[in-house]
């Protein structure tokens, strides 16, 4: 329960709230995606940081080392990064299509256009 013992969690939380703030506060869709990927890196830290053992080494077996960090979170996050970039590409593709359909990637302008469309009598 010391400050040093929980510092890694607090860094994680700072990154998470920074990402969350960008996603909520900014209307630009590309900026929102940047915020989402920052949020995602906080999840990487959340997984990796508890697996570290001070004095341990990377989990590659060698004769001269006895203590290794936990390999399981590494595996999970390794695949998560690649899946993350694939879904990021999907999001960017959606942004590009939205830009072509609405001529804008600002959330407010898109909502305005939607409202003016729905208020028009058919």
């Amino acid at each position: 329960m010391t400050i040093a013992g929980h510092f890694s969690y607090w860094i994680t939380i700072f990154i998470a709230i920074a990402g969350l703030y960008i996603v909520i506060a900014r209307g630009n869709l590309v900026k929102k995606l940047v915020g989402l990927s920052i949020f995602q890196t906080s999840v990487y830290l959340l997984y990796i940081a508890p697996g570290k053992l001070i004095g341990g080494t990377a989990p590659i077996i060698a004769q001269q080392f006895q203590l290794y960090s936990n390999p399981l979170p590494h595996v999970l996050i390794l695949t998560a990064i690649v899946v993350g970039v694939a879904t990021l590409a999907l999001g960017l593709a959606l942004v590009v299509r939205i830009k072509e359909a609405y001529g804008s990637i600002e959330e407010d302008e898109i909502l305005e256009q939607d409202e003016s469309l729905s208020s028009e009598p058919r």
């Binding site: 329960m1 040093a4 013992g5 929980h6 510092f7 969690y9 860094i11 939380i13 700072f14 998470a16 709230i17 969350l20 703030y21 506060a25 900014r26 209307g27 590309v30 995606l33 940047v34 990927s37 920052i38 890196t41 990487y44 990796i48 940081a49 508890p50 697996g51 570290k52 053992l53 001070i54 080494t57 990377a58 590659i60 077996i61 060698a62 960090s69 936990n70 390999p71 399981l72 590494h74 595996v75 999970l76 996050i77 695949t79 990064i81 690649v82 899946v83 970039v85 694939a86 879904t87 990021l88 590409a89 999907l90 960017l92 593709a93 959606l94 590009v96 299509r97 830009k99 302008e109």
Partner: protein, 170 residues
Amino acid sequence: MMAVVTVAIAVRRNLFAVVILGGIYSFLMATVLVALDAVDVAMTEASVGAGISTVLFLSALFLAKSEEMKPLHKPFLPLVVAVATGAVLAYGTLGLPAFSDPNAPIHQHVAPRYIQEGERETGVPNIVTAVLASYRGYDTLGETTVVFTAGVGVIALLRRLRQRTRGDKR
């Protein structure tokens, strides 16, 4: 360092600068991951986060415009929401084990078996590779399928109009 870059990303309105800062952020994250002994993950983060996703963001920015609009809403409400969420999360960490505690539950369950038996059973010294491809082969099959599906999704989203514009030219 990372805090400065993160705040800069949040504040800058020029999306081009934001994307380049995102690349810097990814490299910093990779160094942090090396310090946490996750060399495989650091390698992936450096090549994916700083390489591929920067290129993807830049090509998407080329298609959309690269200057962000001035936000219409006041930034205080989102800030309050974010900070409140963070406070709740920080309160939650009080119950978690301290950093590098060898008795934490994460080090007790399956990881010791991977470390002790992994090389003998698979003949692969890098345990991350052994777990990725062998012990958790189903997971990785699923992840590969997700990557495949995302690729197919992007193809479905971006291919059609391109062919139509080409058809208009002819």
